[in-house]
């Protein structure tokens, strides 16, 4: 286990070197191929996962089998933290978008570890609380914003997390459809399709569809978001 990988994970950013070293003894490394489900909605698994390389999506499934993507995660981000603490069934599924390597900590191992090092639990709880506060403020902020702002914000986040530089700009190597984006921004497919067409006309993004989305000018996309924030 490389200690610097563990130190880079947001949840453990407050831990010192000794604590990280101790934690590394209970961490397992797992690899998943692209399009593999790490856990399903309703599963009883209670491990925490931290992404080392690759990307994942969090989604829920409707009764008719349709997927609604709630978020995507990239390197350094964690998922499954609630089940680590409370042991309740998973509230959403997580699947890989590309070959992904994760670090995995099971509830039982974590419980044993923090019983000998209670200070670690407090530090992890501080990080978790900070994360929840950030999420709460984002939710509050987004509830006052309209769809164009929310969509631009999702596109900026996707470019930051998953964008890879190329000669034509940043390439987001994910298969994004209007339905996927609609799920992420909490709108309908028609509205998102129309907005994406508009953004494409403005030169902010390439055509949607296929297995990648091009952002020709990331700075322009961020400016569009700031500008939309003023109007939204």
């Amino acid at each position: 286990m490389r200690l610097n990988e563990l130190a880079q994970i947001s949840l453990f950013e407050k831990l010192d070197a000794d604590e990280i070293s101790g934690l590394s003894t209970i961490v397992k490394r797992r690899s998943f191929a692209a399009d593999t489900v790490v856990f399903f909605e309703g599963d009883q698994s209670d491990s925490l996962y931290a992404i080392v390389t690759g990307a994942t999506k969090v989604y829920t499934t409707g009764d008719d089998g349709s997927e609604k993507v709630l978020a995507t995660f990239g390197p350094g981000e964690i998922f499954g933290e609630y089940s680590l603490i409370d042991g309740q069934p998973r509230s959403a599924a997580v699947a890989t978008l590309e070959p992904t390597e994760v670090l995995c900590i099971s509830h039982m191992d974590f419980r044993r570890f923090v019983s000998n090092a209670p200070e670690v639990l407090w530090k992890v709880l501080e990080s978790l609380t900070a994360r929840m506060r950030r999420q709460n403020s984002e939710i509050t902020e987004l509830s006052f914003r309209d769809v164009p702002y929310r969509l631009l914000r999702v596109l900026v986040r996707l470019a930051e997390k998953h964008g890879k530089p190329s000669a034509d700009g940043l390439v987001i190597a994910l298969s994004l459809t209007p339905a996927t984006l609609a799920g992420m921004v909490g709108s309908n497919v028609d509205r998102v399709s129309r907005l994406m067409h508009r953004f494409q006309g403005d030169g902010l993004v390439g055509p949607l569809g296929g297995s990648r989305l091009l952002v020709p000018d990331f700075v322009a996309l961020k400016r569009a978001l700031e500008s939309e924030a003023d109007w939204s």
């Binding site: 998943f32 489900v37 599963d43 009883q44 698994s45 089998g65 509830h107």
Partner: protein
């Protein structure tokens, strides 16, 4: 007056209206006359033997209790088993295969099966379940019977009851005033009690649709009811399971009737599950042991459906059994079995299944999260063993005290 008392009052009025001599309950179509007498001493007391039962009855009881224990044990351990398969195999194959495996696991473990085709089947099954009693009533009316062909109408009041059944069937088929339909079915069931407790037990599964009707809105004719809520599914499962469980005990109790049916339809005796339950019994009492095993098989399946343990698997098995009875063993005379088939299909395709034994699962989960393996085994094994024994042996013991030679 709140809704439920008003509906129960309505049921009472209908029961009162039906309380005239209208039916003479006995089996008409499915022949049940014994071709050879049973060895009746088999069903009596055997002092000095386990529970005072004939060793073959005790053996059949042990077989059924063992199967029940195995299913309960698997049920309490299902999350760990599914996780083991998911981590060990599912996450290696990924993609569509992994998702298909997950759907199969969801089917087996009664979790929601989230799939477009499944949803359509679920809607269709409920539509059939809610309307099939109408078809059965029409069939009964044309055969001068009350509710089921087994209960012939008294010629004096036959015309009235035939028209009443057709009227109820029209309401059901057009989904009009469903709470009234539910009350009428409930009332008819209460009326059947006057023909003896065995008749009312025989008709118990009919009550499961009454539960859904009574809890449906009055303007049901304007609504497309294609989904039951979680409480409705729970009550249908409970009533249906209890009904089949009671029917199973009735078969053990009324051994002559069951053996008589088997005498007339010998293909029934080739059921592999019944053979499994009769394994190790005395070959000299083959028919007698088969009767007990047959009854206990129904007790087992009814109990598991009632408590919501592998509900889908057992509902599927029972659908198969009823379809086989309809198409192979009894033929056209069993056409009213489309009703239990519809009821079981509605339960099987529901995505709102719950279990009644969740408290034991909580104990096991509590132990698992603390890594206490021995406690996990105890939390799973003891309840499974206790339930399995309590479901099978007390009533088997009690029934042996009754003289049933004149039934």
């Amino acid at each position: 007056m709140s809704r439920l008392p008003r509906r129960l009052t309505c049921a009472g009025i209908v029961a009162g209206a039906l309380a005239s001599r209208a039916a003479e309950a006995h089996e008409r179509f499915v022949k049940h006359n014994l071709k050879y007498p049973l060895k009746l001493e088999f069903f009596g007391r055997f002092p000095g033997q386990w529970l005072g039962l004939h060793p073959s009855i005790f053996r059949a009881g042990v077989n059924v209790a063992a199967v029940l224990f195995a299913f309960l044990f698997l049920w309490f351990s299902r999350h760990s088993l599914v996780q083991w398969v998911q981590d060990g195999f599912g996450s290696r194959v990924g993609g569509r295969v992994q998702r298909a495996l997950h759907l199969a696991a969801c089917f087996i473990t009664d979790r929601p099966v989230k799939n477009r085709v499944w949803r359509s089947l679920s809607e269709w099954a409920l539509i059939m379940f809610l309307r099939s009693p109408g078809l059965v009533l029409m069939y009964s009316a044309t055969n001068d019977s009350l509710v089921m062909p087994s209960y012939p109408l008294d010629p004096v009041s036959a015309t009235f009851f035939k028209f009443a059944q057709v009227g109820l069937a029209i309401l059901i088929l057009t989904q009009t005033a469903l709470p009234l339909c539910g009350a009428m079915i409930l009332g008819t069931w209460f009326y059947l009690i006057r023909w003896g407790w065995m008749v009312s037990i025989d008709a118990m599964p009919v009550l499961s649709v009454a539960v859904v009707y009574i809890t449906s809105p009055w303007q049901s004719h304007k609504l497309a009811i294609t989904e039951m809520n979680a409480n409705q599914v729970r009550w249908v499962r409970l009533v249906l399971g209890l009904g089949f469980m009671a029917l199973g005990w009735l078969k053990v109790y009324n051994h002559n009737l069951v053996a008589g049916v088997a005498d007339n339809y010998p293909s029934m005796m080739n059921d592999p599950m019944i053979k499994l339950f009769a394994a190790g019994t005395d070959p000299a009492y083959r028919r007698e042991a088969w009767v007990v095993s047959f009854g206990l098989a129904e007790v087992l399946s009814g109990f598991l459906v009632m408590v919501g343990v592998f509900t889908r698997l057992w509902a599927l098995l029972m659908i198969f059994v009823f379809t086989k009875l309809l198409l192979v063993d009894f033929g056209w005379d069993e056409i009213p079995h489309i009703y239990p088939i519809g009821a079981l299909a509605a339960v099987m395709f529901s995505n709102k299944l719950r279990s009644e034994v969740w408290r034991f699962e909580d104990w096991k989960e509590h132990a698992r999260r603390r890594g206490l393996l021995a406690k996990q085994v105890i939390a799973v094994g003891l309840p499974a063993l206790g339930i399995a024994c309590l479901v099978v042996f007390p009533l088997l013991y009690l029934i042996s005290f009754f003289d049933r030679s004149n039934l």
